[in-house]
Symmetry: C2
Subunit: 525 residues, 2 copies
């Protein structure tokens, strides 16, 4: 759990009337590394503050320099938010086309992060996993509640309480609501019709509300995978703006939210269903986000039936919809091998009982998909269409948040513990493409998952990589549904069996209970 430090707000909010001579007498504000340093300035209220006022602030520390964009927060208040990537002294100077906002200067001291603040998410050097900036491994167990942030405060509080008791550490969430939500819109409303809104004027009140949700997730240690565009809003058409309007919106969201260290950018949900934007449009917008985000948050784009070209340099990791891929680790692994990037199967169908096939998985099916994804060296996302009173799926967890009603979440907590007990930074497929279905780290750790199979034993044949003979391993039998870990007595001492395998001739198999959802964990002693 982490807490956002806000004590700097007082020190850094400098009324426009004060001269820099006065500023110099101010104490240097302190903010922890990866926290948020926010400056607020008074500026013009007239005209269109979103188009007429340009504001950024250049932050320097030693050789490092970052240009951080500002944003308009309404009532003549302009803000710049900066999350220091390094500890130490930072100096800043604003750049603006408004004289009163230009050439403002100041300093801050970035202090070491407080406990629980591990920094923003990064891709690990091998390219396939996630870790916080301080190198703490991140074991992604994501969920999706598309429009939770736009619901009532009461519903949001319920969602947060649910999350707090859950294993989930990433939330996929839309800026533009995709189901019914509170009557507050992201753009200025200009009339009574759904299409009566002004794309050139964002609504600070909407975003104040939205960013509060992001901050609340951060307090729970949950990453906010913010979906910037989607195809589900023919009512307003927020996904169908012109290029310049898209860019204004993106610049605003980046400036406003990008300093939160738990933010990830998901360019779109089901990009291929956004009929007004081509893959080339999304390439431009993805590049735009990369170019305009000084905090360099993770970036992905999510598909429906057409796969986006994930080789694009702005894509930090793959965000895939293909539920069938994670019913077999060898399928899931293909995405990883092709792109040589970290892969999250963010949509693999949801736990539920609706007639639509994307929303009627059993809890067992959901958990099974997470496990296959893990063995493949990839990650998986959860969702739920269940509702208490046979409401529409729109009212479910994945529509609006609230309560979880399914059976998968506790089993995903068990899975998460297995991941945390496993190798750093994560599980890789071992001897891929030979249908071994083993993930782990060669020579050290092996995980074999059996899914719907119900074997009564497993031949413990370890792929030869990193083995010379004489290595000893302990073995656990895991029941991934009943959440039990049963150690196997003694150790397995392996020797060469054939050109490809090592085994213990004294105990060539591990006994299994003949039930579904079992796994075997083999750990070097």
């Amino acid at each position: 759990m982490t807490k956002i430090t806000r004590r700097h707000l007082v020190a850094a909010s400098v009324p426009l009337a004060l001269a820099s001579a006065v500023q110099a007498a101010e104490p240097v504000p302190a903010v922890e590394r990866w926290g948020i340093f926010e400056q607020a300035f008074e500026g013009p209220k007239n005209g269109n503050p979103f188009d007429d006022v340009a504001l950024s602030s250049v932050f320097r520390s030693g050789e490092q320099s970052l240009t951080v964009p500002g944003f308009y927060d309404g009532n003549g208040v302009y803000k710049v938010r900066f999350s220091p990537p390094q500890t130490g002294d930072w100096a800043w100077r604003t750049v603006s086309n408004v004289p009163g906002l230009n050439n403002r200067t100041g300093a801050l001291l970035a202090t070491p992060p407080s406990p629980g603040n591990h920094g923003p998410m990064r891709i690990t050097p091998d390219g396939y996993h996630f870790a916080y900036a301080d190198a703490t491994p991140y074991r992604q167990i994501g969920t999706t509640a598309y429009a939770w942030a736009q619901q009532s405060d009461a519903r949001c509080a319920e969602t947060l309480a649910t999350l707090k008791a859950s294993p989930f550490n990433k939330m996929r969430m839309c800026v533009f609501q995709n189901v019914a939500a509170e009557p507050i819109e992201p753009f200025a409303v200009t009339g009574k019709g759904d299409k009566d809104w002004d794309p050139s004027r964002l609504n600070p009140l909407f975003f104040q509300r939205f960013e509060k949700r992001v901050a609340q997730l951060l307090e729970l240690g949950i990453e906010a995978d913010i979906i910037l565009f989607h195809p589900y809003d023919s009512k307003h058409g927020y996904g169908d703006m012109a290029r310049a309007d898209d860019e204004r919106y993106l610049a605003y969201v980046i400036a406003r939210l990008g300093a939160y260290r738990n933010v990830w950018w998901s360019l779109a949900n089901e990009f291929d269903l956004v009929k007004t934007k081509s893959p080339a449009d999304f390439d431009h917008l993805g590049q735009f986000v990369m170019d305009h985000d000084p905090h360099d948050r993770l970036r992905s784009i999510h598909n429906c039936k057409a796969i986006y070209d994930n080789t694009k340099p702005w894509i930090t990791h793959s965000s895939i919809q293909n539920g069938s891929a994670v019913t077999d680790d060898t399928r899931a692994e293909i995405y990883r091998s092709i792109w040589e990037k970290a892969v999250i199967f963010d949509e693999v169908c949801y736990e539920g009982k609706i007639e639509l096939r994307w929303g009627n998985l059993s809890g067992e099916d959901v958990v099974m998909r997470f496990w296959h994804g893990l063995i493949a060296g990839t990650y998986v996302g959860h969702g739920e269409t269940l509702t208490a009173q046979n409401l529409s799926a729109d009212d479910s967890w994945t529509g609006k948040g609230g309560k979880l009603l399914g059976e998968s979440a506790p089993r995903l907590a068990f899975l998460k513990q297995v991941m945390e007990d496993g190798p750093k930074p994560g599980i890789d497929p071992v001897d891929k493409w030979w249908d071994r279905h083993i993930g782990g780290r060669a020579g050290q750790y092996y995980l074999r998952y059996f899914g719907v199979e119900a074997p009564s034993e497993w031949a413990l044949n370890l792929p030869k990589n990193e083995l010379v003979g004489g290595e000893q391993f302990r073995v656990d039998v895991l029941d991934t549904w009943n959440m039990t870990v049963t150690p196997v007595d003694g150790v397995f001492t392996v020797q060469k069996k054939n050109m490809y395998d090592f085994f213990d001739p004294a105990r060539p198999v591990v006994a299994l209970p003949g039930r579904k959802w079992m796994a075997v964990r083999v750990v070097r002693v």
Copy 2:
């Protein structure tokens, strides 16, 4: 079967001594469309003809203009080979740094193709299949005999006789032999050591021999998938030349062989094992081939464990090694969806009995992989490590050609007939990602393959796409191993079953014999 027209050779071979005035009196030579028009010129024998002499010929017909590179064929003879892409009158003019080779002019008449000449291979407009230039579908059933072309004439004749009686219509073959071969080298030998060769001087005798094999394949209607580099030749190091030497070699091979309409370029086998070339090097070389080949032959690159970035524009189709991918159509399909290109699994392990796991598939396994690949909308390649006298696998079909000893080839002929009886240009996955395992063409044709399953019946539920109800289908039960087609009596008249399926409530299932290797074919009446 096609035959290469060579009657133009007489007319077009113009001794250097003859002036253009004399040429004007010559009759205009004729060559069929997609045949080969070859010009031979006498030129310098001194110096290094490969580096010192630049020769190309510009061919014009109406608005179309193609610059065709020439090559040195030894003994002071320089040649230009052109395969006219269109019928009609063509005029040509040479460009050379050698005065006697420069500004030579002439004409040719490209006549309609003879029967059996369907032109070079192209990717179909949908991006996923192959067809000859005249739009005849090409049902790829490839095989591999890496160094067949470098063997004795007797062994080559045996290989050709085997091919003639086989279903195979593509041969993967190396320029640089990867196993023992006849003592003739692609480069000029300068001493007695294996490394004593001059990369700046190609050996025309080697290539005359090699191109004869390509022409012989063309006579059999077999595509020549020519592997330009590979990692298996540490002895000579032909795969480890410097950039300029690689380019000279490629330019030579392109000029010499590119006019053969059955040529495909495979930049490398197992590119990732060629330690002296990076993916960026191969990107350069692939682009080089594209830029220098006026005949625009197909281009691919083949992997071992690392997947090449197949989004590169010079890659016309994907050439994949991953045997496990084609044990499940849903795995195989992923490659297709990601790259939106035609995919050939050119190496899926070979039929054989050697200890090495890449060469010990049963015939059933090989055939099964072809079928799964087909259902996925992809294509598969064959190989064989069997030898009659327990020789090394180097001496097998896939090493040197010769005789086929396995069981898969006749079953691949059966498969090929099923493909030819199927939709044009090929089979696509139908309702992918829902584990239906159906390929075909929605509304018209469905193929369900069961592989190692041995069901006693199959519920005929057709995905809803392109169906409205009332459509009638006939059904065949195929035994893909015993090569039988058993029609099911009567027709199936489908109606909507649920949100996703159509079926015939009067006969919801098709009876099956409970054996492995079965398939069901459903064809619109």
